[in-house]
Subunit: 380 residues, 2 copies
């Protein structure tokens, strides 16, 4: 009987492998079709990411899954994963140029990682692109003449000085924009350096994204939105999601989320070192959630310390806010040191009330992510 | 010409939908085959998760993908996602009972969420299971008599008292184990309350997991490992990964990872509230990484404050360690307040050196996760 079960197990595994090979063939077919879609969209000048088409298509497949007894989340997750690859490959086919008569796009700092990405995207869309790096500064005037857009993509600590250096060099009609992760100071510097159209941008993603699809760009108006509208249309065509904001609101939100998370991650990494933690052993002990939290801290240290120092130091609100955080940490710790269990539970409840339905939403979202983390788990 | 391109786009979309429907059919076939595998494994008493088979199968599909020009990560991610569903459905077919002659399994606190999960798993494996809740305490002696295993699954604050209450009530051969997230105190209490086999367990997952496959259980030996070996074999058959440890090491690691992350998440939530942050607006502003970090904090507040208070307060090392963290926060903040950019960068570099290759590994791991987070993004 066990012999029969063993043979049957072997046979079933072979059939599963055959199904998986067919899955692979279909993914290859899908990618080829999507490449053709990219060509057609290129001709039509359509954006590569169309939220309504995606949502309608997923809803249909979910309904069909239900009928077949397949969990709807399974087909949705599989298709979302396949679509990610599609966005990446659509990029390679190029994009429609929304302003074919525009003069050259000049990227100041176009040799940096983020600058390079924008250089590539503008070129894929048919614009003439010039790079103005440190080496080319002597020819700046010649390079900047006749530019339709000047994009400033330089380290945060030098942004304002470099913008000030552009003063008097730009044509009146040139669009001046920057990609810095703070917005108040650079925007003020741009408005001072240039009398024409100005817009502050913060691409909320790293230079390693495979595509602009679904990526967020925060947009802070400076001057003459009607003159730079076509530029935003171009970003939207690349698939980006544009979020208008004020520089003030943007910078405060960034201090609260970005600077705060960077700094506490730095302190926690420092703390793990000082406590002589054994990362390898901690990992062997970690459930998906702690592994993910360790990864979110550890990832910071694979990056540039100077960049983080400058992001924090350039914020006008971060340091006093860190101090308020420190005081709250101290109060909460005192509560526990006094053994005031009820006091802690009460404070916890107040925050839970404040989060309201977001707490449940975050629990669900993070649970989905943790399932993915567990799928990937390599044991040993 | 645009008309032709539009028609061609429509035709391509229909063909993509057809491919996606075939994908769905294959996923349904795969699930049916996997259910049959579950039956065969049940007969053979094989574990539902076999790392070697999974790794070999994925390596083959990756190689085939390469040949077809499909990114190997795409097929691997799709298959991992499909396999997660398989583990879930394999659970429903039941498990082989590794010790069919064993007496009843008694789960103390078997009405709690985690207790219920273990009750279900033991029943699916053919054991007689009895639940000893508060209501049944009067009949405790009768329920405990002849038990092969007694599993203590009660709130952390009452664990030791309830274990002490078992003293003199257990047969000498009964295996006594607990599921508490600290191990020193409960293990000492178990060794004191019982003269037979004792083992401390910490399942590193919540009661909401769909399957034990790939989930971690930390195992702290108490006494007579040869007598409780079959119990660990049963857990392994459910797909769990067993990690032996000492109670001391386990508790220190948990304080450093679990208690610390809970507490700093609590303080950060409290801080967001006190700063009058607008969660909805922060989310509209958040790149996948900040959204994930917000979610990892907010998820805490969808859960039980008392549980977190007890986890922290029951740790013997957490509070002094939090104080050391606070001092490190203070020092780092002073560095920035003095505008000591170089000092910060130097400290950052020291931690980066300490993380070593883990920093890069964490960056890669979290990047994969962030791509998944971005796939799921709903814009608006």
């Amino acid at each position: 009987m066990n012999k029969a079960a063993e043979q049957s197990l072997q046979g079933l595994r072979e059939r599963i492998d055959a199904v998986d090979q067919q899955l692979l063939q279909l993914l290859a077919q899908r990618m080829a079709l999507v490449a053709e879609v990219g060509e057609a969209k290129h001709v039509l000048g359509l954006p590569i990411y169309v939220p309504e088409r995606e949502a309608a298509m997923l809803a249909q497949r979910r309904a069909e899954a239900e009928v077949l007894g397949v969990p709807p989340d399974l087909i949705e997750d599989v298709l979302r994963r396949a679509m990610r690859e599609s966005y990446r490959s659509e990029k390679d086919t190029g994009f429609k140029c929304v302003n074919p008569s525009a003069g050259p796009v000049v990227v100041v700092g176009g040799n940096g990682q983020l600058g390079k990405l924008f250089v590539q995207m503008f070129r894929l869309s048919g614009y003439e692109v010039k790079v103005l790096g440190r080496q080319q500064w002597a020819d700046a005037d010649a390079l900047l003449k006749g530019a339709s857009v000047v994009v400033v993509s330089v380290p945060i600590a030098t942004t304002s000085a470099i913008i000030a250096d552009l003063k008097g060099r730009l044509d009146h009609g040139t669009i001046l924009c920057d990609l810095t992760s703070i917005k108040r100071e650079p925007l003020a510097a741009m408005l001072d350096a240039h009398s024409g159209p100005v817009v502050g941008l913060h691409p909320m993603f790293g230079p390693d994204v495979s595509s602009f699809a679904k990526q967020l760009i925060v947009v802070c108006d400076g001057r003459q939105p009607e003159a730079y509208g076509w530029l935003l249309d171009q970003f939207a065509l690349w698939g980006a999601h544009l979020k208008p904001s004020t520089p003030q609101f943007h910078d405060e939100a960034m201090a609260l989320v970005q600077a705060m998370r960077h700094f506490t991650s730095f302190v926690y990494g420092n703390h793990l070192m000082a406590e002589n933690a054994d990362v390898r052993e901690l990992l062997a002990f970690s459930s998906p959630i702690y592994r993910l939290e360790l990864a979110m801290v550890g990832r910071l240290f694979a990056q540039d310390g100077a960049l983080y120092a400058d992001i924090i130091l350039s914020s006008q609100t971060a340091l006093p806010m860190f101090r308020r955080y420190l005081q709250r940490f101290e109060s909460a710790l005192q509560l526990l040191e006094k053994g005031d269990r009820e006091g802690f539970i009460q404070a916890f409840g107040a925050v839970a009330d404040w989060f309201g339905p977001f707490a449940q939403q975050f629990l669900k979202e993070s649970r989905d992510m943790l399932l993915v983390a567990n799928d990937r788990r390599h044991l040993g």
